[in-house]
Symmetry: D2
């Protein structure tokens, strides 16, 4: 039961989104203060692009995001055109850095909000399906990391959405073999530093929420007095699990079983259809 | 905005109260899961008596209590006739072990739920009033630890309630000098291993909640089917910031501006009247 | 390159061995202060017996043992007739609680000093050999935990040494398939709460050191003025990776490729001979 | 017993000095691996300049530097023309972030290697001498932070060396009143983002080591094959507690009781002469 945010666009200082936005992601880590029902205090992670070699940097911590002094300092100096941030609420696996998102492989970052139902019982089977040469990269114990390595196994680097569809299809097939009716619940964010994929899906077709920011033009009309939005362009996009509080009308829900591809030029969108084999 | 529990009576294994009680203190650390408004994820502490030398043991951690694996193990083996447990929600001071309750001095343990309003501005003045020979024991940076050391300075070991009244009176006098209308808000639990004091007070006479368990007799009549209550005797007492959920009718509110003294034989109760000098 | 200690005998308070012994295990965690070549600052663990239900308790921490305030308090109150303590110096796997020893399964505790050479390359193969019903108990990422689960798979609970011989044999066979000349280096301590096994072995027959305390009688003669040794009986045994500094002459090296079985009555000893299959 | 490094010059990526230098600061945190006598595993801190607003950023952690995964990532992306890094070995005060160096106030960073002898006994007296308006900035419990706040009190921002001389003089006067023969031992690094001060002093005139890098010209002649030194210019300076291993002949000891001022143009150097009042 996590939350995540992603940003794609002109370089911004990370704390614009994490700290300076009303009911932004850090507030959501301690959302009880906001009168909502859940706490995400089991770890935080930020992955960002902008390095000359194209590889993402990462900061992960098991300190609750709301009280992480280093994160506050880091967010105020990291400027990036593309980043993913994640707050964790464990569904049972240990609170440790290696279980914090984003997971990383080469140029890729991956965040997940949701759960593989019955993961304990099928963990071994899922890990066995991971390509042996990738296996040693698995250093944590979460369902989310297993899903990422399955997607890598099934071709994530060449065909991101196809690979994720196969990975989810494999999880669903495995889960059903174990008698799990709805094996997966997810929103996923992933990037190779050039594009950003945001996927909303669940076996029961009742997925966690996921929103993308409106086009800049619409945003500016909605909020003529917001100075931050004056700088926002049609190339800038924010994806959020849960809308922050200070931009009413700015968020479009991503439809059920849908993948959004955010990229230079026009974005794209397509149905997300897991299958196996 | 913390929460605390204390137990006095026949020896019990600590997890009876911390983990095995529905909506007990550990649940309250992550209370968002319970639909209530606050998270206490900024540290945990347990202090308990039972050692042959009379000195209390202590375990404190900055891991949120709900995910602290060591605490779960510890609580299942520590058996004690008198303990205090505290979950912290910082009002601004750093999340570090030295800021976690209970504070300890010799045989004494001290927990506090509340705040000294305007502490930043008067911290130096309060610390200067601490007896020089005690000063080096102050290793954290909270208002609560300052209050404890003021009470020690004003005679806690000889006259616990009188000393706490003088300490609170001094805080109120200092606060008012700084223009703070209501300088203190508190419930305090403290013990020397023989008695347990539970105090409810605030400058504005609108104090945080504090409850004590009913007499065993009443409890057994209320809950004839609860096996844990069959073992409960008239000598056993529980004090809680907020009642757990599984014993309706079992909790008596401690009155505003009142101190309860739990001890062998009959308990005692008296008005709590801070004054300075 | 870790260090461990184990104790078997009349109940003692744990800090007798951990803190109050000159150059004891905690000193060895920061041994640089002692002029020796290595630091073991990547985590600590203590597992102990004495609970009425026979199951071991455990405390593990990623704080270096020398500065762990909770450990100091814990060690002063835990009294136990049988415990294992371990300080970790990682050979590459993450510093996290789930990678700290002792590992635990039911009534069993397991500590390891050493390494599986080439573990990265054969990790998947070793994990696949673990009995599926046990697989979900693997929550960390170390070679040591894999070795423990292989031993469990091969019958540890019924035939502890035989199972460990098979597990080590399997690791050696797998390693050699991967071109590793000397796949394993180890001293292992394990217990079910009734007996304590201490094993010294390495593929190259040049194993890490391991010592056991002399019989009480010899100890008393050697150290007529040491009051702690006056309380030591013939039933009390200490096993150490490296002798503490204050009992010269008190330690017998355990021979290469040998298993020592410490138990009520006479101890036993036998060659340790891995084989596969 | 800490160690620190500082860099002043053309912007470099921090890990050039921290990780990529043989026996650099991170190696020194775990120096036992290098056969030397001490471990500095009680915390790490990095402060760096380069932000448009002139204020330094900071990252501090209680994880030993050698195993801090976030530090490794951070060091590979932070590029800065002026930074200070510090590894801590506590002389008794708690291992917590607020006790990690560098300390920061406005544009100032401050690191200290050494100790105020008898600090426990004179802590209260030193803290009382801190300017009341600065007092609330003291959030840790170390002698080093007290020294920094005394220097701030005595005018650090206007006259850095004069203020530090007065602060040290005050510490020496206070110490001697308490019967301490040699009250202070120190090397100090401090910066306002424009200059870097490196001071070596102790009451007994037998101070911890401190070195500064040779002029680039000399370095290039000494190491004609080292590509990193080809980029080094006469404006670039490194100050180290202890020389890294890969640049023999590159380090000039800073003389006893001396302050070095590193700045644009020619550096300066002068005697460091504490006095009080």
């Amino acid at each position: 039961m996590c939350r995540w945010n992603a940003y794609f666009g002109q370089p911004v200082v990370v704390d614009e989104l994490l700290f300076k936005t009303d009911h932004g992601l850090i507030d959501q880590s301690l959302r009880a203060r906001m009168g909502v029902e859940t706490t995400n205090g089991d770890g935080f992670g930020l992955g960002w692009y902008g390095s000359p070699d194209g590889r993402p940097h990462r900061y992960r911590s098991i300190t609750p995001a709301w009280s992480d002094v280093n994160l506050r300092d880091l967010a105020s100096h990291v400027e990036s055109p593309l980043f993913l941030a994640h707050i964790r609420a464990t569904t049972g696996t240990p609170v440790q850095q290696t279980n914090c998102h984003p997971f990383r492989h080469g140029r890729w970052l991956f965040v997940h909000n949701g759960v593989i139902a019955g993961f304990d019982a099928m963990r071994r089977e899922l890990l066995l399906a991971v390509e042996p040469s990738l296996f040693d990269g698995i250093v944590g114990s979460t369902d989310s990391e297993a899903l990422f390595y399955l997607a890598l196994t099934f071709g994530l680097e060449d065909d991101p959405l196809g690979a994720l569809e196969r990975a989810v299809g494999f999880v669903e097939a495995t889960g059903r073999k174990h008698g799990v009716e709805h094996p997966i619940q997810m929103t996923v964010g992933m990037s190779d530093g050039e594009r950003l994929w945001a996927v909303r899906y669940s076996s029961e077709r009742h997925s966690r929420t996921l929103f993308v920011s409106e086009h800049a033009d619409a945003l500016r009309k909605l909020h003529p007095d917001n100075p931050r939005l004056q700088r926002f362009t049609d190339e800038d996009r924010i994806v959020v699990s849960e809308p922050p509080g200070d931009l009413p009308g700015a968020w479009l829900p991503i439809a059920e079983s849908t993948a959004l591809i955010i990229q230079p030029g026009a974005d794209d969108q397509r149905p997300f259809q897991p299958h196996w084999p």
